[in-house]
C-alpha cells in the first residue's frame, strides 16, 4: 500500500493553480460542486495529475471521482 499522505499533499499542490477562488481543500472537497470546475479545467487538471504520478486516469475512472479523497484513493491504487 502506497503511503497516502504524500499523495494527498501532492494532489493539493496540483490543485493550487486551478483553485482560483481559494476554496478550502479537504478530503471531502468536490471538484464540480465546491471548486466549480468546468470540463476544460478538469481536462487540464487530470493531465497534470497524470504527468505528476506517471499514470493514466481514464475518462471512465474520472466519472467515478467526485472528491479530493476519492482522487487520492484512485492515484494510490494506480500507483500500486
Amino acid at each position: 500500500m502506497t503511503d497516502r499522505q504524500p499523495i494527498f499533499d501532492s494532489v493539493l499542490s496540483q490543485i493550487a493553480p486551478f483553485n482560483k477562488k481559494g476554496v478550502e481543500l479537504t478530503e471531502a472537497t468536490s471538484f464540480a460542486g465546491d471548486l466549480e470546475w468546468d470540463s476544460l479545467t478538469v481536462m487540464d487538471f487530470v493531465a497534470a495529475i497524470e504527468d505528476e504520478f506517471d499514470i493514466i486516469i481514464t475518462m471512465n475512472m474520472q466519472a467515478e471521482i467526485e472528491t479530493i479523497g476519492q482522487l487520492v484513493d484512485a492515484v494510490a491504487k494506480l500507483k500500486g
Binding site: D38, M43, V46, E50, T58, M59, N60
Partner: protein
C-alpha cells in the same frame, strides 16, 4: 397554476441555460441559433428575413450544392428510385445507388473498403464504438468533435485523452498503457473550431513507437480541399500508408448529407453486421446517394477549385489580421477562419452587426469551443468570388468598429 420554472422535473437541469438565453435575448439581440434561410440562391448567397446575405458560415467548401450535374443526378434518382428506402442498409435499404457511392469513395480514396452511414456523426459513432470494445483503449485528442466523444461513450472501451495536438502528450499516454492492450488512436485532420491542422506525421510516428495501435483520422473538414487528390490532410502530409481508417462526411465538401469510413483492412466488410449505428437506422434516400456519388467523382478533378479556395482563405485571414482581429490560427491553415472575441455579449453583438450588413457567420460558444472561448467562425467556399471576399472584409471592418471589437 404553478409557475413552470418553480416545478422540479427532468427539465430543471436546463434552468441556468434557459435563464442565460433569456437574459441575452432580453437585450434585444437576435437569436444566433434560430436563423432561417428563406431562400438559398447559390452556395454563397441566401435570403434571411428579406435581406440578401453572403454565406460565410456553411461547410460548403467546394460549392457543390448547386452543381448542375449533382442536382441532375439527384432528380433522376428521385424519379427512378423514389423518395426513400424505408429500411436499414442490411435489410431492404441497399440500392444500386448505395453501392455506386461506395465505389466512388473507393476510387476517390484508393482504398479497398468503403461503408456509407446516414450521417457523419453516425460514422464516428459507429466506427469508434464498434472497433474499440471492452478491455480496449480509445486514445483521443481533447478537442475532438462531439461525435468522437459520443462514439467512445457508446462503446465499452477505456477512454484516454491527450492535450490538443500535443505529440509528446500522446506519446506519453500511449507509453503508460498496457503494451498488449489493443488501442484505437483517433485524430482529426482539421479541428473545426479554430481551423487548425494536426501535425499528422509526428503524431503517426509517435503512435508507431507503441504496440497494438490502429489509427483513425476524421477528415470531415479536410476532404475535397487538402492533398493532390482532395483526400484530406493525411494525404497532403504524406501519411496515407500509416492510417488504418478514414472517416468523412457528405455534408461538407460533397454538398449533401451522409457519412462514411474507408479502409484497406481485409476484414472491413464484417463491420456491416456488427456496427449498430449502421444496422439500426434507415439508409440514405436514393437522391442523396446519387448526388453524393456524382459530387465525389467531380471532386477528384477539382484542382482549380481547391486553388481558389486556398486563395480565398489566405486573403480573408490576412484581411482580418490586418484589421486587428484575433484569429484562431496565426497563419491560414484551412478554409475555417475563427475570430476570437472576448465574451458572449461581444460575440453576439458582432454576429448581429454582420448579419444586418448582409453576412452570415457561425457563432460558437462553450462547451463546443476550446478553452471556453467565444468564436465567430467563418468557413470559405471555392465559389466565393474575389469581390465577395473583399465585401466580407469591409463588413468585418464596419461591424468591428461599430461594436468596439476592433479599434
Amino acid at each position: 397554476m404553478t409557475d413552470a420554472t418553480q416545478t422540479r422535473d427532468l427539465f430543471s437541469k436546463f434552468d441556468p441555460l434557459i435563464a442565460e438565453r433569456e437574459a441575452l435575448l432580453a437585450t434585444g439581440v437576435r437569436d444566433p441559433f434560430a436563423i432561417v434561410m428563406d431562400e438559398v440562391k447559390s452556395p454563397t448567397q441566401a435570403v434571411i428575413k428579406g435581406k440578401d446575405t453572403i454565406l460565410l458560415g456553411t461547410y460548403n467548401y467546394m460549392g457543390m450544392t448547386f452543381d448542375p450535374d449533382v442536382v441532375a443526378a439527384g432528380k433522376k434518382a428521385l424519379d427512378d428510385f423514389g423518395a426513400g428506402t424505408t429500411g436499414s442498409r442490411v435489410l431492404n435499404g441497399t440500392y444500386q445507388g448505395h453501392k455506386e457511392v461506395e465505389e466512388a469513395l473507393k476510387d476517390f480514396y484508393g482504398m479497398s473498403g468503403a461503408m456509407v452511414f446516414s450521417t457523419g456523426y453516425q460514422a464516428n459513432l459507429g466506427m469508434i464504438s464498434t472497433l474499440a470494445g471492452k478491455g480496449d483503449y480509445v486514445v483521443l485528442d481533447a478537442d475532438s468533435h462531439a461525435s468522437i466523444y459520443d462514439g467512445c461513450f457508446l462503446g465499452d472501451a477505456e477512454i484516454v485523452r491527450f492535450r490538443h495536438n500535443s505529440v509528446e502528450d500522446l506519446d506519453k499516454r500511449l507509453g503508460r498503457l498496457p503494451a498488449d492492450a489493443l488501442k484505437l488512436v483517433v485524430l482529426e485532420g482539421v479541428y473545426s473550431m479554430l481551423g487548425d491542422v494536426a501535425p499528422l506525421p509526428d503524431m503517426v510516428a509517435a503512435v508507431r513507437k507503441h504496440a497494438n495501435c490502429m489509427i483513425l483520422v476524421d477528415e470531415a473538414h479536410g476532404m475535397g480541399f487538402f492533398g493532390p487528390n482532395g483526400r484530406g490532410v493525411y494525404e497532403e502530409q504524406g501519411v496515407e500508408k500509416d492510417v488504418d481508417f478514414v472517416v468523412g462526411t457528405f455534408s461538407k465538401s460533397v454538398g449533401t448529407v451522409g457519412g462514411f469510413c474507408v479502409s484497406n483492412h481485409p476484414k472491413f466488410e464484417v463491420l456491416r453486421l456488427v456496427c449498430r449505428p449502421y444496422v439500426f437506422t434507415a439508409s440514405l434516400p436514393p437522391s442523396v446517394v446519387a448526388t453524393a456519388a456524382t459530387s465525389i467523382r467531380k471532386l477528384m478533378h477539382a484542382g482549380e477549385k481547391r486553388a481558389h479556395l486556398w486563395k480565398n482563405s489566405q486573403r480573408l485571414h490576412k484581411g482580418l489580421t490586418d484589421l486587428g482581429f484575433k484569429l484562431g490560427t496565426e497563419t491560414p491553415q484551412s478554409a475555417i477562419i475563427a475570430v476570437i472575441l472576448t465574451d458572449q455579449a461581444q460575440a453576439v453583438a458582432m454576429w448581429q452587426a454582420l448579419l444586418e450588413l448582409g453576412l452570415y457567420v457561425n457563432m460558437a460558444r462553450p462547451p463546443a469551443t476550446p478553452a471556453g472561448t467565444f468564436l465567430l467562425r467563418c468557413s470559405l467556399c471555392a465559389e466565393h468570388s474575389d469581390e465577395q471576399v473583399e465585401q466580407i472584409i469591409a463588413m468585418f471592418e464596419a461591424a468591428g468598429k461599430a461594436t468596439g471589437a476592433i479599434g
